[in-house]
Amino acid sequence: MKSNTIADAVVIGGGVVGTAITYFLARNNMEVILVEKGAIASGTSGRCEGDVLVSDKVHGFDCRLTKLSQDLFPEIANELDYDISWTRKGSLLAIENEEEMEEAKKLCTQLTAEGLPVRILDQYEVHEDEPYLAPDIVGGMETDCDGSLNPMALAYGLVHGAKKMGARVSTHSAVTDIRLDANGCIERVATEREKFVTNHVVNAAGVWAPEIGKLVGLDIPIKPRQGQLLVAERTFSVARRKVMEFGYMMAKFQSSGYTRDVTPEMEKYGIALVFEPTEAKNFLIGSSRRFVGMDTSCHIDVLQAMAQRAIRFFPVIEDIKIIRSYAGLRPFTPDHLPIISETEIPGFYVAAGHEGDGIGLSLITGKLISQMICEQPLAITTEPLKLSRFKDG
């Protein structure tokens, strides 16, 4: 065991959230150490889609937080030495029927009031926009500011950038112990190989955050929610940008009891169309949502139901071959908002629970945690993101 290393802060977790925090802390002249039990981006960040979206957020705080994060990407993409494939082509929510169209118009008004570049496309316009959409799709909601990137490149790019500013990174090094001093403040972090003396620890361990929380006796209500994805072969341009279905959001967010015209399997597996063209001219098909513990294997009935759902929106892809599938674990919280928070333990911070929004929210999370530790004014209130909101049931 090496002797103790002294640092201003230790960040636990080498996904996009932990690497972003490390980057922003290093940029704030903090001596920071990133520890990760596996490799960089080896967990959830390496098993996702790479979306930076505001269009699937609830209007209000969720939307403002996401937009703040989104607007940091051009700057950071420019700062990093790595090409993170950041593109901002916008996104389209496909609308299946008139009932959805009415809701979409209401949502569009709300999002426009938030200052977002959102627009409703009618049946003619939506097919002009995406000619391969099924003819019966009645319209779409377009969000011009949405973007996508390569999440592995983002995580590695942030690590590289942080190292250049003096950060240290220790991979394949799981945290085994976090020690508090006599006043209950953070004093030391031990990994399998090293010990670090520090007053600040950030738990950015995603679906593993509850385990790290236990080391200091904190209950962190994050559950792994599995999402599977299909990768199609390189082919013609089926869609020019991200396409999702409006009906799923409506079923998820509205209390009106709206149900989609889907099979019982699609309902059971939480399947909603996500169609994502990639830089390499392949495309990804999602999405599914299941609570199956830490299982990251794909299941054929889920994959089939996802493919079926995608064919409903893009009948033309029926003959296109699927070359791969993969599953990731999204860190789910009971109220669908992340935890970006100080805690009752002085010096212990939580930045986890972003579910499917980790890529999009990574940069604002990094910025906010760095502002908390450096005692700077926060970019946005973090009141709705506090860990303490889950207390008192």
């Binding site: 072969e233 390189r234 082919t235 013609f236 033309v316 003959d319 296109i320 071959k321």
Partner: protein, 92 residues
């Protein structure tokens, strides 16, 4: 084999003869056509494994891109086009 076993297929707008029971790749090779596809960097590619594994012999068949010609039977009047991987289009 008598002439009744032969039929025409179209390759890049030209007509060649194929025999009943041949895959498209076999018919092309029998006619001396070896470059079936170009990569994104415009290098030619042709039949390699001949058994559906390597995906090198992909062409546009009846408008559908990425068809493995070694696994696809030649049929009368089928239309085959050299595939350019730098710009795959659907010709349906």
């Amino acid at each position: 084999m008598d002439s009744g076993d032969k039929f025409e297929i179209e390759v890049d707008g030209k007509t060649i003869l194929a025999r009943k029971g041949q895959t498209i790749a076999e018919a092309l090779l029998a006619n001396g056509l070896r470059a079936l596809r170009t990569t994104r960097k415009q290098a030619p590619r042709g039949v390699y494994c001949g058994m559906g594994i390597c995906y090198e012999c992909r062409m546009i068949v009846n408008g559908i891109p990425n068809v493995r010609t070694c696994m696809t039977m030649a049929t009368p009047a089928c239309k085959v086009t050299t595939q350019d991987d730098s710009r795959i289009t659907l010709e349906k």
